[in-house]
Each structure stands twice: as structure tokens, then as C-alpha cells.
């Protein structure tokens, strides 16, 4: 069985290549951990300068977790704002409150504004609504929201690079020529690569998913099996695309050059950024991006607890991508052997 022989050889090469193994298995865990630490850190307390404010208001601000520094005149408060000590200066201008914001960091700005508005309107009688969540919960952090996308992205990115580089090596070292001087069929070469790499991508997908959910505590509302399946499908797409594109590269550096061309654009369409905010024609681009489908399904499963019927379209599309890329691989091999 030639496909099996090729798969075993790839596995043996992998096992001997400790660095690559580490890259495949440990690097995603490291980056996920960093992401979790960065995006789940305690919220910073806004630094607010108060210029001759009534004591009641200062108290309310402090109750809302703001760090309030009182100033006697506006100039010294503004100087502190310039020096980067404060995020905002709150003063009363003829009885009317005035806010000056530091403004260079939009997310910081929003947070300060929200806090100020809340404290200003706190005195007014209001009907407090009951809040319930259809998906997620009050504790859901931004990491929970884009974690599923990251899991898919890592599977895609590392497998893309590894598959591209190893197929390229096969070609430049001359072993591809030797391989093709045996009675192996071209489709067997592609299937052998798929199964050899498939094993490692399956292990990688399982490890990443387990680590993110059980160790990092990523929000998870759906089936782990569906998550693993989506991850595997994404890896297969990356594998077939990586080997295909490696036919157009003549060295390792040229594989790296495919990253800004092929991988980075997919990140923009994967749902990390809001697609609805894009111009419509640009949104359409997402339909040709494998990561878009993978990320969509991963998010659906993990955050909204979606089942098979909700994600099956994504599954079929990814299988379609893999099949097309694999077929193109078989055709591209013709360049190296006439039959």
C-alpha cells in the first residue's frame, strides 16, 4: 500500500524533527495563553481629573471604579492630561458639565465615556431592565469571543506553512523525482501526504481545543467533536493549499512570502473584525476564504452551541475547498512526471 508507506515516512520524519513538532504543538498553546492574558486582564481604572466638582459627584465616580484626582484649576488638570497621567478631565462650565478626553486610544475613550455617562445619569430615576443572555453570559470576555477563531486560525496557519515547506523540500532535494520514478500514482502522492499530515493535524487540533477549553477556560457551549471536526477540516484545507502553492515557490523564503498574500487577508475576513462594517463588495471576498467558513462554524459551535444542521454548509464548503486543492495538486504533479 503505497499511500500508507508515504504516510508512515512522513510520520517518521516528523517524529525525528523535534523542532517542527514543537512548533506544531507548543507554539499555538503559547500564543493562545498570551492572548488570554492580554485580552482577559483586569480592566484598567480610568484616571479622571476633577476640577472643582461637588463632593457627591466625586464619590459617585469613585464608586464606579474611577481613580479621581481633584484639581483646583483647569490648567493644571489639562497639563496632567497632556502628560498622560489622566484619561479625562471633568469640569463644570457654568453649571454644565464638560469633559475633555485624552482621545488617542478609541477603546479607552469609549470606556471612560461610558463610565462618565453612567455616573452622570445615576441620579435620575430609571426603570432598571431585567437582563438575560441568549448566548454567552455577563462574564464573557472578548477572548471568549475570538478564541474560537484563533483555534481555527492556528490550525490553518501552522499546517499551511509546514505542508508548504515539506513539499518544497521534497522537490528541491530531488526526492520527489526519485519518488516519481517509482510506480506510485500522482493521486497516491497527494493522498499519502494528506494522511501522513492528517494524523499530526488531528493531534494538533485536539491539543489546541483541549488546552483552550479546559486549561484556559474558553467559553464552550457546543460539542467538542464538532470543534475537532471543523479544526481538522481547516487543517486539511491548509494542507492541500500549502502543498499546491509550494509548487510556485522555489525556496523556503518564497513560502514565507505567501503568508501576507494568502494567510493574513483571511484573518481580516475570519470574523475577528466586524464584517458588516465592510463595503459590500469587500464582504463578498469572504466567500472565497476557507478561514471564514471555519471560523464561522467554530464560533457557532463554541459560543452559540450550534449543532450539525447549523454548520453543515461550512463543512461542505471546506470539504469542497480541500477536494479542489487536492485535485489541482494531482494535476500540478504532472509538471514533474509526464504520467
Amino acid at each position: 500500500m503505497r499511500i500508507r508507506a508515504l504516510a508512515i515516512r512522513i510520520i517518521r520524519q516528523f517524529v525525528r524533527d523535534k523542532r517542527t513538532l514543537a512548533l506544531l504543538f507548543l507554539a499555538p498553546l503559547l500564543i493562545l495563553t498570551l492572548m488570554k492574558l492580554v485580552f482577559n486582564g483586569n480592566t484598567v481604572e480610568p484616571q479622571i481629573g476633577a476640577v472643582q466638582l461637588p463632593a457627591a459627584l466625586v464619590e459617585r465616580l469613585e464608586a464606579a471604579d474611577a481613580e479621581v484626582t481633584s484639581y483646583d484649576d483647569f490648567q493644571s488638570a489639562e497639563q496632567a492630561l497632556k502628560d498622560g497621567v489622566l484619561d479625562a478631565v471633568l469640569s463644570l462650565n457654568g453649571g454644565k458639565p464638560a469633559i475633555e478626553l485624552e482621545g488617542s486610544d478609541p477603546s479607552n475613550t469609549k470606556m471612560v465615556l461610558l463610565l462618565l455617562q453612567r455616573t452622570m445619569s445615576a441620579g435620575l430615576p430609571a426603570v432598571a431592565p431585567d437582563i438575560t443572555y441568549l448566548h454567552g453570559s455577563e462574564e464573557m470576555a472578548s477572548f471568549d469571543n475570538f478564541g474560537p477563531v484563533l483555534i481555527g486560525f492556528f490550525s490553518f496557519f501552522f499546517v499551511f506553512m509546514l505542508a508548504g515547506v515539506s513539499f518544497l523540500r521534497e522537490r528541491t532535494s530531488g526526492t520527489l523525482e526519485r519518488l516519481l520514478a517509482t510506480p506510485i500514482r500522482r493521486f497516491e502522492v497527494v493522498l499519502g501526504y494528506l494522511s501522513g499530515f492528517g494524523l499530526f493535524t488531528l493531534l494538533q487540533a485536539a491539543l489546541i481545543a483541549w488546552f483552550a477549553i479546559d486549561i484556559l477556560g474558553l467559553y464552550m457551549d457546543g460539542s467538542i467533536w464538532l470543534v475537532l471536526m471543523m479544526n481538522l477540516l481547516l487543517s486539511l484545507t491548509a494542507l492541500t493549499l500549502g502543498t499546491l502553492l509550494s509548487s510556485f515557490a522555489s525556496n523556503e523564503f518564497q513560502i514565507i512570502q505567501f503568508i501576507p498574500l494568502v494567510v493574513v487577508p483571511q484573518v481580516f475576513f475570519s470574523g475577528l473584525f466586524n464584517l458588516d462594517a465592510m463595503t459590500p463588495w469587500l464582504q463578498k471576498l469572504s466567500t472565497i476564504m476557507p478561514l471564514y467558513y471555519g471560523a464561522d462554524a467554530m464560533r457557532g459551535i463554541m459560543i452559540r452551541g450550534e449543532g450539525w444542521s447549523d454548520i453543515q454548509l461550512d463543512v461542505y464548503v471546506l470539504i469542497g475547498f480541500s477536494a479542489v486543492f487536492a485535485l489541482l495538486n494531482v494535476i500540478a504533479l504532472k509538471k514533474h512526471r509526464a504520467i
Binding site: 508507506a5 508515504l6 524533527d17 530531488g174 526519485r178 516519481l180 510506480p183 509526464a338 504520467i339
Partner: protein, 250 residues
Amino acid sequence: MSSSIHSASPNPVIDVRSVTRRFGSKTVLDDISLQVERGEVFGLLGPSGSGKTTLIKLITGIDKADGGSVHMLGEQMPKLAMLQRFGYMAQSDALYNELTAKQNLTFFGSLFGLKGSQLSKRIETAMSIVNLQDDLNKTVAAYSGGMKRRLSLALSLLHEPELLILDEPTVGIDPVLRQSIWQELSDMRRRGTTIVLTTHVMDEADKCDRLGLIRDGKLTAIGTPEAIKASSGSATLEEAFIVYGGGVRA
């Protein structure tokens, strides 16, 4: 080695007819015709860049000619099933350096359909032919250049092919080892294996039963080393080569 003169037989092992190969506008092989008979050592002699490797690839069916035809063992090339019937050693060593010699042999053996005890036996035989039986479990990265070349040869012998096609088998190998490889080749020839090889070394060409002189993609002479020397009125192949079309630049 024997210098018996082969007359054209009705069913040669390799039959190349008016083969032409172009890369873009460059004609790399120009109307080449030659036959290789069963049981002979046939050498393709020519400076580097003359088109030897290109011709070898057409014969093996890895590449396809733009004009003319190639038959191997009576079958029109390229043909997938024929890849089972010859052993091919490319110009580069093409080994998986991170694997052991045994893992390399097992892999290629499986591709030729060998398995189990038959495979282990063939691995043992092939490795003892090239005198590497004690280095079977070393990783190839730890092999010297000469050892890699020999392992490469062992790989092409694994499935006991009736035809061996070797592209520069002794390049980069020291004289002692070169001697032993030639010893092996002549042993295999005695057992009936047909061998086609390329070389740009004159004294090596002298050991072939028949030679084809190739230069700038053209076959300038074909025959036994003696016949080629005689017909050009030269004492050595080197002189004959110059008579048949300019100096050797290899």
C-alpha cells in the same frame, strides 16, 4: 570488460527513435536515435550541459519528448507500469537525510510493492552489494558523500530490476570506491542486468560495452570504445571525442 560488438537486434531493451526535446526555444536534444541491447553496459558520454540527464529522463518516462518515440522493453514510454521494471538513480542523491538508511530503503521498497521478509531480504542484499550492511541503522545525515551515493545505488537495486539507469553514478566518489562500484556493475551485468549510465569521465567510459557520444544535444558517435577510437583514428577516447566535435568542457 568484454568488447563484443552488438549488432542491432529485433527487440532492444531501449529503443530511442529521432527524439527531440526543447525547453522554450532551446533545442536540448536534437533528433537522437539509439538502441541498448540486453545485458550490455551502455554509456552516454558528454560534457555537462550536453543533454545526458534530459535524455535519461525521456528514457525513464519521467519527461516526455517533443518529437520521436522511446520504447523500453517493447513498451511505448512514458508508461506507469514500466516504472516497476527498471531501477533509476538520479544525478542528485535524493535521500531523506533525517531518516535512517533502513527507513529510506523500507520506504522505497514499499513503493515497489515489497513487504515483510522479502523486503528485509532485499534490503540486506542491496546493502551488502554496496558494502553498507553495517551502517543500516545510521541516519543518512551522518553518512559521507560516498556512502550516500552508494545508498542511492542500493535503493535503485531494491526491486531487482532487469534494467538499471544511472545518472552519473560515480560523480564525487573517490577512486577506490569508484573501482568497487564498477566491480558491482560488472557483476550485475554478468547476472544479466542491462545498465545504462551517463558519465563525463573518459577512463570510465572505456569500461562500457558501447558508448554514445553526446554533445550539445546531438549524438555524434555510437559504438564500442574500440570502434569509436578506430573510426576516428585516435589512440584515446579523449582524442576521439575531440575529433567528433570539439573539446570537452566538463
